[in-house]
Every structure is written in C-alpha cells, then in structure tokens.
Symmetry: C2
C-alpha cells in the first residue's frame, strides 16, 4: 500500500520489498551464537553509487576497502557482517575483509571492486573465518532463489545491540528508495552513520547521486548523536540501478533526505538505553554552523539527557550547555529563549496554567527542546536520546 | 603533625587548621533544609589575591561580581552560598548577590570590593533572601569568636551533591597553603573549577601569585572532567596574606600545583555516581595540546567510562576515542600503544600470565590508562571517573 506522508513524499505500509532489480540474502556465519549475521543485498544490473565513510583515524579494513571500491562509483552489492567490527586487527584483518568480499563477488559472479563491505561490533577481535568460510561454502551451492530476503530481514541481520531493525521507504516518480540502517551506541556520526544503505531503482547521473547523498546526510545523519563517540565503521551508501527510469534530481534529493531523516529518528529513538527521542532545534542563530554547534552541545550534555530521562524541564542545564560554547561570544543570556515541547520556560517562566502541559510534554516518547539565540535567521535541528541507567548496563560489560 | 609526601612537599595529618591570620565561619541560611549552607573565610589583614573564573557565556552574578572584585588583587574574604547557583536570575539575581557581599563586608568591617562570592547549585531559582537576611541579622551580633570554623567545616558547608568535603594542605618554607573545594557534576572546568579556594600566609608579589595560580590550574583543574559539562559558576581563587613572610616563587608554585592536583583527584573520585578515579596519560605526542586533547577525548568517552565501570579492559573503545579526533591526521594506528594499569593491551595483547594482573588493575579504586602516540615527546595526564547508573540517578531528578 502506498500513501503520502506529512512532508508530501510517498511512503508505503505493509510488507516492505526492494526496489526493482534488487534482491537480498541473509545467513548465519557464526559471528553470533544464533540468528542471521551475514547479509548481502545485490542489484541484478550495474548500479551507479555514492558513499560516505567514517573519518575516524582508526577506520577498519572494511571501511578502507569499501572506500576504494566506492571510488569506482559503480557498485553491485553490499555485504554486512554483524557483531564484529574487524577493526584494529592488523594485516590479518585486512586479508579477512578482502576474502569475504571475494567470496561475495564469486557468489554473485561480479567483480570484487563492485562489492561494498560493512562490519560493526566489537573492536579488536579477529573474524571467525572458519565458520564464515563454511557459511560461504554452503551458500555457493544455492541458486538465485536463495535471495528471497526482504529489507526487514537484512536490517535484522545487521543489528548488534539494536533492539529493533530500522528500515524506511520513499517513492519518487516511478522509482522507490529503500533504506536499511543499524546503530545504537558509539554513535555520533562524522561524515556518515554506523551503517545505512540506500537502494533505489531511480536513474541518476553519478555526480547528481553523489550530491544528493551528501545533501541528505548533512541534514540527517550528521545531526544525530547518541553518545558523542564516533564509530570506526560508519558507512552510508546509495545504489541506484536505474530500473525505474530517470527522476528529477531535486525531487530525488528531497525524497532521499526525508528517508534519511526517518532512519535518523529511528536510530536516535533506539540509542543504547534510550527511552525517549530528544529533538533540539536552535533557531535565530548567526549562521547554520553556530545553530548546529549549539544544538549539538545541548543534545550531547549528559545533564540535559538525564533531566529529559527524569521528565524534568530543567532549563538551567540547557542554558549551561549553551553557555559552555565559549567561542560564541556573541551569544548573550538576555537574548536567549528556551522552550520544552513548545512551552517557553526561559526567560518567561511557565505559568501555573501551562505547568500541566509542560509536565505532559516531558513524559512523551519524543521531547522537543527549542531555543533561539536572537542573533540571525539560521536554524538547525539535531537528534539524540535521553541517558538512562540502561546505557550504563549495556556498556559496562559488553565484551566480558 | 607534618611529614613529607612522595613529591617532597610538606603535608599534614590530624586536624586541619587555617594558615596564620585566616579564620572562618559557617552557618545555616535556609538554602537547604538542614546543615550549614553559608560560609565565610576571612583574612585579618589585607591579602594579595589572584582568581580565575568560568568562561561560560551564562556566568552568574556571583562570578560577574567576583571577577570585578578580584581585579583589585586585594581580597580579604571569600563567602559561599551552597545549593543555589543564582544563575539566570536576572537583575534581581545581581542585586541579591551584591546584597550578600555587602552583608559579609559589614560583618567583617571591610570594603565590599574585598569580598569574593561563590554560589553553586540549581540554576534559575531566586535566592531565598528572607532566610539569608535573617541569618546575617543574627550573625551581626556575634563577635570574632564565632569565627571558629576549620577548613573541613567550610568545605562541608560548600557541598551540594558532593559526598565528602575536599581539603588539602601543603607547606612551603615557613608558610602553609590550605585549599578547600567542591564540585561533582557539571564539571569540565574551563579556566577554573567549580569552587576551589586557596589560602596561604606566604608573602608574594601579586604578579607572581597570579602566575603561580595560572600555572597550577593549567596542570590540575584544567585536566579534570567528570561529564564534559562546564559550570556557570566555576571559580578558583588564592589569597596570600603574608603573615609567614616571603617564600620563593618557584617553590610556592610547585607546592600550589601539588595541592591543586590533590584537590583535582579528590574532585574526580567524588564525581557524581563515581566508583573509580580514572587517570589517562597520553605520551609521545607531537605537543602538549595534542596530548591533552587525546587524553581528554578518552577520559570523556562514555563508552570508555562505562567499560572502566564494568572493570572491562576494552581497549577497542580507547582506540575509538583516539580515532575520533579527526583533525589529528598525524596519528596512525600502527604507532599507537595502549596500556591499562601499566599492562600493554594494544598492539601486544596481554599474555595469559598478565591477564590476572590486568583484571586486578581494572578493579582498583584508581584505574590508569596510558597511551602513546609515537609522534614526539610531549605528555599530558587528565583526571575523570567512571560512568555508573548512579550518575543517572543523581541527575535524573535533581530539581523535582
């Protein structure tokens, strides 16, 4: 079923399928005790591609290899290993990543350089190559019929500490865009998010696709922070196989941005230990960079995050988080306003009549903090989540 | 009793007293339900002073007033209000801070401009001036004999969510330096820490005292981070009344630095929810700024902090936290080493023989992470604490 969402883009309900010409496969490669942990999404024809990767100095072999392959701008498949990041694993880690890529290429009868590989999970552990090899030996006997996995299956096979799979779809003209993503912690993407793959049957020139991706990512994944920690594995890629014919670039960019925002919100709400989505908008800033810097400072403040967790409209912590940006000397307390859920709390205190509404707003699954700086017209919105004891629980003994 | 500590400075045990010529007073001004919440430390003669304050854009009236008074470099008294930061309280907040200063000056028979005022606690609440006035009305009838409070009493009266008072003492020649401090959360000092007051009977020229303070703070409080949040109230001040005669500036600076390091460690171990002190040393860096930036990135990483909480030697998170400093492009994974408690974990994995020692090191009340970058000779050490569910508990409903 298809309908139009609030922003005017076609979305779909019901069982989600791939865009024309894409198919997928998931299986168990022994990376975790049970459940599928290897996935492959492939296009049955060459696809134009664009990709962005983590800027971490410790980017893993999967990122290094994928960056080289993505430079060719023509990818046919994306494979993902869950549970193990294969990062800081030395020369053997590089060889292992290359071997997995070779296995996937052989399975599909395509060139190694047409395969993108993603790998997330524990850092510093060698991949279990024995079970991975056994898995691909078995898969080699399967025909194309084995490629019956849908986007939800793939999103599930990509999960690590994610509590739910993340998928989204938008239509643009005759074409569709389907996205799958994962990521819960170590999540303040820098140039891309943990893993987000976007597949479309739209036809676009490579440069336009690249620009569309950069535009979309800048306004979505780059505005996301769960815990200020940038992953060593962040990857976002889009594959466009053209099966549905050409679409307008502007229209495509808008749909892609809307879809990425959908995934960004799903990632934020499923942040490790998160019980609430936190959306911070900084308005009336001097420029967009300032707006984003201030909004990020608020969304990342552990004191703001814990206050939101406790449903406490503690605006003092919001002004503190604005105030610690000591390079923004043009920000002065007398021009700043702060609102929770649309109800101003600073400098005007909430009236007794609005107190109930304020309490109610703080208890919603999505809490909005809106602040204005009184300096200009620029605005930015960023996404994060509250900080709960659950975050500590998940992370205090993840490897042991 | 006096003895010499490991770094060669005289420290004292037993009941702590003020340096010659200082006395103090604490009382209950209704800022909290029970317990002393107002303190005054005064010198019976003019004292040379130096001070540093928060760089927060939302610095409160206490900081604004104190900054003006400290510019005179001759302070006679320091007063502190606990539990209420008197920040973002508008013109009334400014008037209230000035009134408290005036009351303290009248009590001591000194000039308003010789009084430094500190105020920490909740942001955005007016001071309870009725009970504060009643308190000073009562205190006005007291003679100098009422000024019998010791450093521990003052440190206690300054506490907010601190679980223990922080004091330290060092001797330098015939003089002594006594410090009191408070601070547990909203604690990544920028130009000074929450509240740290240093009193000495040493005699020093104002410029030397100022330089000594800046040198000491740069190597101690500036290397502390509990939660990346910079307070609106940070203040550190030193008063030197000269009662013990002149001392060498170099010797004084070294003793002051050692004392401030002592207080810094006390602040880190009593960080909100902290169960462990975390000490991160980055060595073989290009320059000191890089060493400090990398060490801070590790000590502030929520994933490193939770791993330390769980006694998990998860070095993968340490390399992640190094790697997210994407401007340090000269850092390469093949030159980096990481050790926990002196036991290398990357790139050499711990041997089975050292595994027990590693587990043991992770369970100590102080955990040391040492990393080297292989680029130069600079080094920096920073202090923080683990991240526990206790931090969330303390902060999820602090005002409600």
């Amino acid at each position: 079923m298809q309908h139009t969402n609030a922003t005017g883009f076609g979305v779909e309900t019901g069982s989600l399928s791939w865009p024309t010409g894409f198919r997928a496969y998931t299986g168990h490669g022994g990376l975790r005790d049970q459940g599928d942990d290897i996935s492959v999404v492939a296009s049955d024809r060459p696809a134009v591609s664009a990709a962005m990767f983590t800027r971490s100095l410790f980017a893993g072999p999967a990122v290094v290899l994928s960056r080289a392959h993505a430079a060719g701008r023509e990818l046919r498949a994306v494979t993902t290993l869950a549970q193990n990041a294969n990062v800081a694993t030395g020369r053997q880690g590089e060889a292992n990543a290359a071997e997995v890529v070779g296995r996937v290429a052989a399975l599909l009868g395509i060139d190694d350089r047409q395969v993108l590989i993603g790998s997330t999970g524990v850092i510093g552990r060698p991949l279990p190559m024995d079970t991975i090899r056994a898995h691909f030996d078995g898969a080699a006997g399967l025909g194309p019929g084995a490629f019956g996995a849908g986007p939800l299956d793939v999103a599930r096979a990509m999960m690590t500490t994610d509590t739910r799979p993340k998928t989204a779809v938008r239509t643009v003209g005759a074409a569709r865009i389907v996205g799958v993503a994962k990521g819960v912690g170590m999540l303040e993407p820098n140039m891309a998010t943990m893993l987000a793959y976007l597949f479309t049957d739209a036809e676009l020139p490579p440069d336009d696709l690249d620009t569309a991706l950069r535009t979309a990512v800048d306004r979505t994944f780059h505005c996301l922070s769960v815990d200020t920690d940038t992953s060593t594995s962040d990857t976002v890629a889009v594959l466009a196989n053209g099966a549905a014919g050409p679409v307008g670039t502007a229209e495509f960019t808008a749909a892609l941005t809307d879809l990425c925002l959908d995934l960004t919100r799903q990632l934020a709400s499923d942040g490790e230990g998160a019980t609430k989505l936190l959306r911070v908008t900084a308005g009336r800033a001097r420029d967009e960079a300032q707006a984003r810097r201030i909004a990020k400072s608020v969304v990342n403040s552990p004191l703001v995050k814990t206050a939101v967790h406790g449903a406490d409209p503690n605006w003092g912590r919001v002004v503190m988080a604005i105030g610690k940006n000591t390079e923004d000397r043009d920000i002065t307390p007398d021009r700043v306003t702060v609102a929770f859920g649309g109800i101003e709390v600073y400098p005007e205190e909430p009236t007794p009549e609005t107190l109930d509404a304020l309490t109610d707003a703080m208890r919603q699954p999505e809490v909005a903090i809106t602040l204005t700086l009184g300096l200009g017209t620029a605005e930015a919105t960023v996404y994060g989540c509250d900080l709960s004891a659950g975050y500590v629980r998940v992370n205090a003994d993840y490897t042991t």
